[in-house]
Amino acid sequence: MAVAVRPETAVEPIQVTMTETAPGEASGKPVANKVTIILAHGDFESVMAAMIIANASVAMEQETNIFFTFWGLFPLLRDDVRFSGGNVMQKMLFGMNRGGISHLKTSKLNFAGIGPAMFNALRRKYKVASAKEMLEIAQEMGVKLYPCQMTLDLMGFKPEHLIDGLEPPAGAAAMLGFSTGGTTLFI
């Protein structure tokens, strides 16, 4: 049986011009860039990854934004906030999923909090900062933190339930606006 083979001549070799200097390097001034992280998950590993990348990015002098949505919004709740919400469903949701960046659960091997306790013990042993510490440093370094307006409404969170120093709540269009032209990461 004949197999159709794309003729090799049809593929033009791609010419890549390599320059000695990266863009902007010649002028001595690096190219300004920005990183936007969309944090949609609230588990230990996702929040840690978001915090580490955001802090590395702001250390690289890049404009850094984090958009906190759905489960990702829970780490922005104050650690001491317990029952939130206006209706039974919102209260139940909050009762079963405590907010606050100090109460993160791992997506695997959580074992009613034993998993995160073990990871935190390892984290301290290897001198990795906690998510809470990294969130505080991120704020200090100028990372902009945007809570998702729709999630706030859906979950029944009020502004007083959230930590201080956040940007005004934003929507998807606003997020697409401030992320345009930079690197966008979905976690």
């Binding site: 860039n33 690289m60 440093i137």
Partner: protein
């Protein structure tokens, strides 16, 4: 010309992204042209400081390793 180091940051034992972060924070307080010496033990700090230097334009003048301690000399 002798290289006068304005300050030394002892970041031994710290893990990613703290070495870069502490350096970036210290840089904010420094004057243009000043030198900072970094001591770190995280092996990841080698590619991290190289990438960081390229991205920020702060010159990585020297990098050496001795007994598991990485030393970086950076000029703002």
């Amino acid at each position: 010309m002798a290289l006068a180091v304005a300050q030394t940051l002892d970041l031994k034992g710290l893990s990613c992204p703290l070495p870069i972060l502490r350096t970036a924070k210290a840089m904010k307080q420094m004057e243009l042209g000043e030198l900072v010496e970094i001591l770190a033990t995280d092996p990841g700090s080698v590619p991290d400081f190289n990438a960081w230097s390229k991205a920020t334009g702060h010159a990585l003048l020297e990098q050496t390793e001795e007994g598991g301690v990485y030393r970086f000399l950076i000029r703002k």
